[in-house]
Symmetry: C2
Subunit: 237 residues, 2 copies
């Protein structure tokens, strides 16, 4: 016997939740589905896994094809496998989430499949179970970012503390005291103060910071505990 003869075979797909940050709001990137059914309805970036690639490779490929994005932070989220989740034919989908610096990738984003950014609180109706995927991705982002410095993936290489704080505040839907936030972040030793300032948002200007790449790798698992304790939506991870 060279095959598991009697077993059912399934279609397998990947779906990517792409997060970006415009300086104010966390957003996700959606495209209009190309196929029937639900053609032209909003969808995550998805595609079928090919015979010669792993799900990870498929996610990279699909993301590249639909958005032009490459080399971004990409992490497996969860697999969705209810028999009826795709009405045409049963498809098992491995969901991923990606974090991108919208500025850096603005040029790269291909318009071929016209992806559009949506703030999380103004999402259109999504096809299939994509709403659930987004909800889970948001939860996992919060959960993980509370312990690991992944939110920097959403920022340009040089960023200010006020910008970073905006990001954290939007992700956790809360607000932090400026002084305490700054102290906590700086205590990680992950940020390097630059000499230049960003003068776009204030008269005084805010100093730029960069990630200290050396410490970043080494201290990835030693980050902060940023979950507000009464935060909902961190229960399932």
């Amino acid at each position: 016997m060279t095959k598991y003869q009697k077993q059912t075979r399934f279609l397998a797909a990947v779906d990517c939740i792409v997060f970006g940050f415009d300086g104010q709001k966390l957003k996700i990137l959606l495209i209009k589905r190309a196929l029937e059914p639900e053609k032209n309805n909003w969808s995550l970036m998805g595609g079928f896994i090919q015979a010669d690639e792993s799900a990870d490779e498929a996610a990279v490929r699909v993301l590249k094809k639909l958005t032009g994005l490459e080399g971004v932070y990409l992490e497996q989220l969860q697999t969705f496998s209810k028999p009826d989740r795709d009405p045409i034919e049963r498809t098992i989908s491995v969901a991923y989430f990606a974090l991108i610096d919208t500025q850096q990738y603005e040029q790269q984003i291909t318009d071929e499949y016209h992806p559009e950014w949506f703030p999380l609180d103004k999402m259109p109706k999504l096809i299939f179970d994509h709403k659930k995927m987004v909800a889970l991705a948001k939860e996992k982002l919060r959960y993980k970012a509370a312990l690991h410095p992944i939110l920097f993936e959403l920022l340009p290489p040089k960023f200010t503390l006020p910008l970073l704080q905006n990001l954290f505040e939007d992700v956790y839907e809360t607000s932090f005291d400026k002084r305490n936030f700054s102290r906590k972040i700086m205590s990680t030793g992950l940020l390097l103060k630059q000499k230049e300032k960003d003068k776009a948002n204030s008269k005084k200007g805010a100093f730029y910071y960069k990630l200290d790449k050396k410490h970043y790798q080494k201290n990835f698992h030693k980050f902060l505990h940023f979950i507000p304790y009464d935060n909902p939506g961190t229960a399932n991870l």
Copy 2:
């Protein structure tokens, strides 16, 4: 068109890492594989996903069939999908981990497939990529148990503080100060002291505690931060 005609279909399986605790050591349950290739070699509990069930349902079914276990803590871990992970035919596997109270389920465990317990540091060679799955499961268990009270799933309904401490110490491969451990655990408000003592392990006897089920649900996401900061193997989650 009622099908996605041109796409490849894949076998899809589930594999379960079952954790148990014998009072001293964290262990996992393995069985001997029933099929060629690698027949009789040690394997996680696995099985193919059927046409009418989700991966979650398959995991429950497979666990029941191979071990007799039912109603246990079961959580999706990650999907493994390298094209060559199963040498016979490409199979995408959704891995799960389960936490069981070995005492309670000792009777339930079916001997039909003769599962055996192995301490994590004395695991035999496993088939396919199961070693990776176990490594990831151990990592995720540590990670999650640092923030959520899931290790109680490994204990009988009534347990002593010394037993609980043994469990934490074994999971994190470290030791805690008895007084500080007790204070930290009790501060969660999750434990209810019982009137009886366990006299099996000491002359004085140690009081039993139960989980406060009401608080358990409510405070699931408010647990403690138990990760020793220099703990390796918490980087990928």
